[in-house]
């Protein structure tokens, strides 16, 4: 299947994902580009493969993850530091190998310091933040090289939340995996459930009815609205404008309640497989119209606060060249003129008037504006979907054989899932959260900005830790 490309730099393939599979005698490294999938072999005794890092900077985390998961060495790579395996990890354990027991009890080993990327020079100092941050926020580490207030460089270090989910799901059927998959990342539960359901439908060679797609579309867009409202509140809040958070967080709450009314759960966990609740089409449409009014009011209000735009304009710029080089996805890409939205490729969305939203300045302001435009558009889409949506349930399959993949545009961007099934059970589960790519590009937005703007820039990208760390 051909995926949406970059639009601009057509000669270059976009790297979507790279992961490995244990094939017994050897390891296979699978690389998914937008235009093709390639497979390489790595010998089991001395597993090696050529690195893509020099050509694709975002190959960095993929390859370091494969190195930790399988013990494969990438030749020509410029970064060999462990990624998932932190200071106290017992060296030599590669959990994604088939002979590693998922229940193995690991002992904490000697502390081995991690060597952070840092800029040297007179008067340059380092600031280490995390893994536990000041607010109510997921754990991760940010390492800054500073010249006074100004950020010279920043390294993102994650995987504190690494739960071993890929391995956890092996040996389970899709039906058994579904409740876990719904909880990989609470921010994108609906999107991840849909990705799994699309694979389940492929396994059973079932066409998804338009009525069912409409129902899922409603939930997916509500998830996006809840998420975008939260960001539209927190971004101004990080610039010192708290009133926006008070307003937007109330709208996010109302959206969660709408999800609860439709699915019985505020985050729509397990919503796809649950018997849908009776719902009132007209009521949902009225709700959308009301929420659109709120969005309009918010837009007029916020557009009128010059001191806020002063903080957001030209802050944390991601050039479109950099966005393409890293293969960025989601709002982050679209705010830097990269035309990429999975929904643009789905006939169901296209036929119902879907239009991707874009900005070109690549700064915090652009990401803010894209979110607001998307939120308003999602409300229009829900109104359309509501007219066709059914109350059908969906049953995940217990069977299946072969390799499958799916794409969904989550509120954070393109979500990619690949699953191999043997005798109805998962033998390899892989999911690439949109954040896994975007986190790697975050440091490009820092140089020239002051450290006080980091929270603002970070929030404008709104990336997931849980989905990234697995």
């Amino acid at each position: 299947m051909e995926k949406g490309g970059s639009g601009m730099e057509n000669s270059r393939k976009r790297l979507i994902a790279r992961y490995a599979v244990d094939r017994g005698e050897h390891f296979e490294i699978v690389t998914r580009y937008d235009t093709e999938t390639t497979r390489e072999r790595a010998d089991r005794q001395e597993p090696r493969a050529p690195s893509l890092m020099p050509r694709y900077p975002a190959a960095n985390w993929f390859e370091r993850k494969i190195a930790d998961d399988f013990g494969i060495r990438f030749e020509g790579a410029y970064d060999f530091r462990p990624l998932l395996h932190h200071e106290r990890w017992p060296v030599g354990n590669h959990p994604m190998r088939k002979d590693f027991d998922v229940h193995r009890v690991l002992e904490f080993s000697e502390y081995r310091p991690y060597k952070y990327e840092a800029v040297g020079g007179d008067g340059v100092f380092e600031v280490a933040v995390g893994p536990i941050h000041a607010g109510i926020i997921e754990p991760g580490h940010f390492h800054f090289s500073q010249a006074g207030e100004e950020m010279l460089h920043q390294e993102v270090r994650h995987f504190y939340k690494y739960r071993g989910i890929e391995k956890m799901l092996e040996g389970k059927s899709l039906a058994e995996a579904a409740p876990i998959v719904a909880r990989i990342s609470g921010n994108e539960s609906v999107a991840t459930q849909i990705a799994l359901a699309r694979i389940s439908a492929q396994v059973e060679k079932k066409d998804l009815s338009e009525a069912l797609q409409a129902r899922w579309g409603i939930l997916l867009e509500l998830e996006r609205i809840a998420h975008h409202w939260t960001d539209l509140g927190f971004i101004p809040n990080d610039a010192g404008f708290g009133a926006a958070l008070a307003f937007a967080s109330a709208r996010a709450e109302e959206t969660r309640r709408q999800l609860r009314d439709l699915t019985g759960h505020r985050f729509a966990f397990d919503a796809l497989m649950r018997e849908p609740r009776p719902w009132d089409r007209e009521e949902l449409i009225r709700w959308c119209r009301h929420m659109s009014q709120e969005a309009k009011w918010f837009e007029e209000w916020i557009t009128d606060i010059p001191s806020l735009w002063d903080r957001m304009d030209t802050t944390g710029i991601l050039t479109s060249g950099n966005a393409l080089r890293y293969g960025c996805v989601g709002v982050v890409a679209r705010a830097s003129s990269v035309e990429l939205d999975v929904r643009s490729e789905e006939p169901f969305y296209r036929e119902r008037g879907f239009e991707p939203k874009q900005e070109s300045s690549g700064d915090v302001a652009a990401r803010f504006k894209v979110r607001l435009m998307e939120l308003k558009h999602s409300l229009e889409l829900i109104e359309t979907f509501a007219k066709e949506a059914s109350s059908e349930g969906f049953a995940f399959t217990e069977t299946g054989e072969g390799a499958f993949e799916s794409f969904v545009e989550s509120s954070l961007g393109e979500l990619y899932m690949a699953i191999e099934l043997v005798g109805g059970k998962i033998s390899r589960f892989f999911v690439r959260d949109p954040s896994f790519i975007n986190w790697q590009a975050l440091h490009l937005m820092m140089p020239g900005n002051i450290i006080a703007d980091f929270p603002l820039i970070n929030k404008s990208c709104d990336l997931s830790y849980a989905g990234n760390d697995l």
């Binding site: 998932l84 932190h86 106290r88 990890w89 354990n93 959990p95 590693f100 027991d101 998922v102 229940h103 193995r104 009890v105 690991l106 904490f108 893994p131 536990i132 000041a134 607010g135 109510i136 926020i137 997921e138 754990p139 995987f159 504190y160 939340k161 690494y162 739960r163 071993g164 989910i165 391995k167 956890m168 409740p179 876990i180 909880r183 990989i184 990342s185 609470g186 921010n187 539960s189 939260t230 009133a243 008070a246 967080s249 109330a250 996010a252 709450e253 969660r256 505020r266 985050f267 966990f269 009011w297 007029e300 209000w301 009128d304 606060i305 997931s464 830790y465 849980a466 760390d469």
Partner: protein, 177 residues
């Protein structure tokens, strides 16, 4: 800005559940000495995510939205463990987070209490245990109270915290290491 104030007057106050205020008032009365001694009239919570899906955090953040407005109950989320009375722990306690969680716990001055939030730390969420998971939390920390749910809704969290205060009133002491 004028638009904002017009709107503000029209909307009024969204905060619900006035019974919480009443209950808290009553509770405050009953806790008089205990709370005054331990918490100086306000309970400071350090939230620590040890490997959640982030929905538990989202619900804690929701506690500050105008519908719940938790701070009016005298309960605050603080930035440093050194300012905290309570560690509110979410997530499955990953292998990579456990040392940091224990670190944060050490930093909280005594008396202190550990409350687990959501099904994850009790290993009651759908996740099955792996090499990378160290939950249940009670194997590593003296858990004083548990707030169940996946995730617990903002109302459930508020009720859970009040329940915890009630157990204090019944004489349960803070735990050290």
């Amino acid at each position: 800005m004028l638009r904002y104030w017009q709107r503000r007057f029209k909307t009024g106050i969204l905060t619900e559940k006035p019974e919480f205020d009443a209950r808290m008032k009553e509770l405050r009365k009953r806790l008089k000495k205990g709370i005054a001694k331990h918490f100086a009239g306000s309970l400071a919570i350090r939230m620590v995510d040890s490997g959640s899906c982030n929905a538990c955090e989202a619900e804690c953040n929701a506690l500050s939205n105008p519908y719940y407005d938790l701070e009016r109950l005298g309960i605050r989320f603080v930035a440093s463990p050194r300012h905290a009375d309570v560690m509110l722990l979410s997530g499955v306690l990953t292998f990579n987070m456990l040392p940091h969680v224990l670190d944060a716990w050490e930093q909280i001055p005594e008396p202190k209490w550990c409350i687990t939030l959501g099904d994850c730390p009790a290993m009651q969420a759908p996740f099955t245990r792996t090499f990378a998971i160290q939950a249940p939390a009670a194997e590593h920390l003296p858990v004083a109270h548990h707030i169940p749910g996946c995730p617990p809704s903002p109302n459930t969290i508020i009720e859970g915290l009040l329940e915890f205060l009630e157990t204090l009133q019944n004489g349960k002491q803070g735990t050290g290491n």
